[in-house]
Amino acid sequence: MSIVTTDNPPESITGTPQAPPVHTLSVFVNNKAGVLMRICQVFARRGYNIDSLVVSHGRDEHFSRMTIGISGDPAGLEQIILQVTKLIDVIHCIEHTSSDSVTKELLLVKFIVAKKDRTEALQIIDHYGGKTIDLTPTSMIAMLNGDTTKIDAALTMFSQFEVIETVRTGKVVMARGELAT
């Protein structure tokens, strides 16, 4: 098991310098009730906020994969990773950076769009490589995926319409090359 330290500069969720640093952790755990509680408790007690969380079972259903985006003091992160790793139900916990991994998230966005604006909306969706998954005479739902920066940029473009709601999955991460995530 390798643990990547926080020496790498953290990404920022919004790109603004004041934003708290966000770290992406991949946690491989036993697929059992209560495991998420145990992990969340370690972060909460040390004052880290969970910004995004994706959990699903692994290829072997006895295990689950969690991708957790957290923000908080980078100085204590390495120690927190050790505390998470110490949990009996955790197989491993690895911090990933943009250079050693790929991250993606999925966005669903529902917005009001009248007939006259529909073409422009479709152009934006097409530009970001997305799809229309629901269409009514007055609204549509677009689906697109990509890294966080791309999703943020697309949302800026959609904001010219009356956005009713957005749902983001939060990011999932996978290590590049043959490394384990």
């Binding site: 755990v29 036993n30 009730a33 209560g34 509680m37 145990r38 408790q41 007690r45 295990f63 390495e78 120690q79 050790l82 505390q83 790793t85 110490k86 949990l87 009996i88 139900d89 955790v90 197989i91 491993h92």
Partner: protein, 575 residues
Amino acid sequence: MSKNQLDGAQALIKTLDDLGIEYIFGYSGGAAIPIFDALVTVKTNIKFVLARHEQGCCHMADGYARATGKPAVVLVTSGPGAGNTITGIMTAQMDSVPMIIICGQQVTWMLGKDAFQEADIFGITIPVVKHNYLVKETDSIPRVIREAHHIATTGRPGPVLVDVPKDISSADFNGDMDPELDLPGYKPETSYTVDSDKIDEALQLIHKAQRPLVLAGHGIMISGADAELMELAETLRCPVTSTLLGKGVFPEEHELALGMLGMHGTAYANKAVCDCDLLINIGSRFDDRIIGQADKFCKDAKIIHIDIDPSEMNKMVCPDIEIVGDAKTTLTEINKRISGLDTEPWLNKIEGWKKKYPLSYRKQGGLRMQQVIDELYQVAGGDAIVSTDVGQHQMWAAQFYKTNASWKWLSSGGAGTMGFGFPAAIGAAFACPDQTVISISGDGGFQMTLFELATAALHKLPVKIVVLNNHYLGMVRQWQELFFDDRESGVDLEGNPDFCKLAAAYGIPSFNIKRPADVRRQLEKAFEITDGPVLIHAECVKTDNVFPMIPAGAALEDMLTEPPKGKLAKPTGST
């Protein structure tokens, strides 16, 4: 149902017996009735002790484990029964004490429906256990109990709670009594191989040192590395200071022993920490009580930190060399290649501090707790098992009661749990019937768990129950005197009972000590009683203070060795 058919509860008790569990400390209740029934229907070697409160059960199991290194089991019912164990579980977790807590629980189909005596003890205890379980299949009971035992006793030990719903314990058992453990995320065996490069680096630092100091923690005791520590210290001629929980891993009467360090540690231990050029921390987690102001701690010295728990590295102090591993394995490797150092100038310097700042107390102006403890030590010796409560008497006991071997000093360190001492002594008395067991409490902490006098009396446990009574919560009063302009608030224990009459109500003989001249005679008389408990009540001066003292958050060099002349600033550190 065939005659040999077990139910879940019977499989549970049988598994505990197979694991060699000797004692269950418990308190019954509705949801746990099937398990209590199995204690009767299954033939085992397990002895059951009915305590008088669930917190008492936990501290007894804790005392048993601290006196033997082996886990005991706590068995309680759901809801309030389980809830009352939390302080005891937290106490064990903070001090890395193995313990298995089994709770009865409502039936599974009522969970989450606010049923009678239902509490989500699984969720409640997550932050205070090493691991916990809510059992959902009867056939998994032996595996869960075996895993709980394995987790509690290996690596860095700790408490493991198992919540067993009543329908699960009542149902027929059709599983395997000796199943494989399923713990893919738990590999304590890796601690027994230590990186040899790290050992090389450590040896380089050790052989360069002129003023080395060993900080000996509880990890040495758990690992059983006392002999290896002795070899290291004597080969290097290196002084050894210990943490509160490490008392005994190095005989405190040894010439190289400096006693306890930290907030109320000996002045010479703290001065040695400030002045050493190499600190070798073995099995201690650099608690805030021993490092004071973290950024000033040993700032000119090199630090080697040996700990079995990787998450202790860089938590409080950043060491120069981190060795994650078992203390005995690591010390054995280091000792293979170690050579002696010339530490005579260093030892002479320490000897000077020992002469200049000895531990002392006044024998005039009333009876002092220190004198009672000092004379207890002279009467009972350094090999008695001493259990303390929390507060001033605890610190004086740590200073004046010299502990000469591991598993003899039982004290709640990390959690600082008042009410711990007396039930822990009961647990130790069950564990070690041939040894002298002394419980030292203040009047505050003793009253928190004094209901266990019934347990001690019933089982005729020869515990020497020492109550050092100053009618105050003395440690808090000391802080109020030193840092809050002597404004007393919530510390005056007016209304204390007559403790000797209280003992008599339980049929326990007692001795009252009022004057310094009476101490030895009364102690000796009390120690003649060996067929059951005896209570020794000492009426002590009301307003004495513990020194040396390092105000919380201050650096070790700011230690007060005597009462300050002027007013002190409020402490900036932890409580």
